[in-house]
């Protein structure tokens, strides 16, 4: 797979698996395709043959509803067969609606209740330090999710413990279920808030592989504090009728919409 095509392939699987499941969350999955490509295909130290390798880098999808992007990425990276994606959200399937660490190879933490994943990531980063293990922890959080108080409790703890091995990526798409984040409950000024909590803040275009890569490398080089990468993204990115529309937060495409989406993804770069 040439680099250009991985994010596109991830997007294809996202729309296919939500259509097959007739449920799931395409919007906030499509916004993460490039970020997941850089993490799983370039930067994270992982081995699909040994998902439990103790020295691996770990990943926490704190905005757990974005399982379509997580599962597509894990499948394409070889953690489990791509065919499994067809069973997403079906009874008796390993691919639960929200990440289930006890059943799915490559899932490092169970999430789904917003606000809780980041604390788990802090715990993993503390454990890595205790074990003198130089592995890193990456966590993806949502902008709506930043309304949860627990996010800020975790932010405080990570800075307090100077967890330079923790990198958070904020999927800053300015949408949540009920509309625009700044209208539902304003979280701004978001960069200043994280800075004030003692984090290094890097802003980037969340759909540009080069700048995402650079941002992650900067985070890896930081030695004194945790880093948050504020990734400016478009919810529903890549499927024009889903882009910037909160109605596609938790709705699956029907067969006709799936065909349209796949055709568009085929055309797009």
């Amino acid at each position: 797979m040439s680099s250009k095509n991985i994010a596109k392939e991830i997007r294809r699987e996202i729309v296919k698996m939500t259509a097959a499941a007739k449920s799931g969350h395409p919007g906030g999955s499509l916004s993460l395709a490039e970020i997941m490509e850089v993490l799983y295909f370039e930067e994270m130290k992982i081995d699909p043959a040994q998902p439990d390798w103790p020295e691996r880098d770990r990943f926490v999808l704190s905005k757990g509803h974005a399982t379509p992007v997580l599962y597509s990425t894990l499948a394409l990276r070889g953690f489990f067969p791509k065919e499994e994606l067809k069973n997403f959200r079906q009874i008796d399937s390993i691919l639960q609606g929200h990440p289930d660490m006890k059943g799915i190879p490559g899932v490092d933490f169970s999430t789904g209740s917003l606000g809780q994943g980041l604390s788990g990531a802090v715990g993993m980063a503390l454990a890595a330090r205790l074990d003198k293990n130089n592995s890193r922890v990456y966590a993806v959080i949502g902008d709506g999710e930043c309304q949860e108080g627990q996010i800020w409790e975790a932010a405080m703890a990570a800075a307090h413990y100077k967890l330079a091995n923790l990198t958070v990526i904020l999927d800053y798409n300015n949408l949540q279920i009920c509309g625009k984040v700044d209208e539902v409950m304003d979280i701004g000024p978001i960069a200043e808030k994280w800075q004030a909590f003692g984090w290094r803040v890097i802003e980037t275009d969340g759909h540009d592989l080069d700048t995402i890569r650079q941002a992650i490398k900067m985070a890896q080089a930081e030695e004194s504090c945790p880093t948050i990468i504020i990734a400016h993204t478009i919810k529903g990115k890549g499927v024009s009728f889903m882009e910037n529309d909160p109605d596609w937060h938790g709705r699956a495409p029907n067969q006709e919409q799936l065909a349209l989406a796949l055709a568009e993804l085929e055309k797009g770069e």
Binding site: A21, S23, G24, G64, R89, Q90, I91, D92, S93, L95, Q96, G97, H98, D100, S110, T111, G112, S113, L114, G115, G144, E145, Q147, E148, G149, Q176, I177, C178, E183, V184, M185
Partner: protein, 309 residues
């Protein structure tokens, strides 16, 4: 085939009607207004609707403050977050001072379906009924939900109102008033009593039909109130049939079955079987398939009833 409506849909209309009647009613939601159905209220009464964002603990505390200042807040989100995420705020900020907050939660139980175990609240009745001052209502269908909303608004003090995501058949009267703390005898029989709540009541009525075809006459006692529990009605039916089966879309630990067992074991020890989630987490799947896999069916109720006969 009876009419199907989700209890959360009935909540939508009841809330708007209540808003018209009572200016003190205010509504809070945590980024789920279109799922919990508080959205219509937000459009009808924008001044009295508060969008709190994804911050359930904060929403619960704000509701407590509104109640302390004389308002009648209905705070809505999914049952798992309403009772789980904000449990201690409910306990200490609402129930301890006995404030007039209505926790009106939707998406209770495993019929949440595809979202899976993280979103399927099967412990909430237990969490809520263990709190002093708290009342707990699990309506069986749409019309009873409307009546429950009105009753909750009239009642002084905290109420937990448990509603579902999926459409369920209408089995109670279209126009009704809920008598506080009272059970409803939906079917008479002398061989076994089926005590049920919420969406399981419709299935209990089906179970009674199956039993009747086999010559077993089941009494069906529906308990919209888990708390206060209608002990008199529970004891009366147990005394009559001497066999009790409970059924609920909740864990067999701490729910209706436990509440009934508590009363019976102290006052009238009676052979008992509980139908419910057997101390396990749910999973993703279609609601109908999950009900079968987790044993929440008329057939399971029939099986338990026969164990007692």
């Amino acid at each position: 085939m009876s009419k199907m409506i989700a209890t959360r849909n009935a909540y939508k209309d009841a809330l708007v009607a209540l808003g018209e009647k009572n200016e003190n009613v205010v509504v809070l939601d945590a980024d789920l207004a279109k799922s919990t159905m508080t959205y219509d209220f937000s459009q009808s009464f924008p001044q009295r609707f508060f969008s709190i964002g994804i911050a359930e603990a904060n929403m619960t505390g704000i509701a407590a403050g509104l109640a302390a200042a004389g308002k009648i807040p209905f705070a809505s989100t999914f049952a798992i977050f309403a009772t789980g995420r904000a449990y201690e705020q409910i306990r200490n900020s609402i129930a301890y001072p006995n404030l007039n907050v209505k926790i009106a939660a939707t998406h209770a139980g495993i019929t949440v379906g595809e979202d899976g175990a993280s979103h399927q609240s099967v412990e909430d009745i237990g969490l809520m009924r263990g709190i002093p001052n708290m009342s707990v209502i699990c309506p069986a269908d749409g019309p009873e939900t409307v009546a429950a909303v009105m009753a909750a608004a009239e009642h002084q003090g905290p109420v937990y109102l448990r509603m579902g995501r999926a459409a369920v058949p209408v089995i109670t009267e279209e126009e009704q008033k809920l008598e506080w703390g009272k059970a409803k005898l939906l079917r008479q029989g002398q061989d076994v009593s089926i005590l049920t709540t919420g969406m399981m009541t419709a299935l209990a009525l089906q179970a009674a039909e199956i039993l009747a075809a086999e010559g077993i006459e089941a009494e069906v006692l529906h308990l919209p109130f888990i708390k206060p529990l209608d002990e008199e009605a529970v004891l009366a039916t147990a005394a009559k049939t001497k066999r009790v089966v409970t059924a609920e879309e909740h864990s067999i630990i701490n729910g209706l079955g436990s509440a009934v067992a508590e009363v019976l074991s102290e006052k009238l020890p009676t052979p008992l079987r509980r139908v419910g989630i057997k101390d396990t987490f749910g999973e993703s799947g279609k609601p109908a398939d999950l009900l079968i896999k987790y044993g929440l069916t008329p057939e399971e109720i029939v099986k338990k009833a026969k164990e007692l006969i």
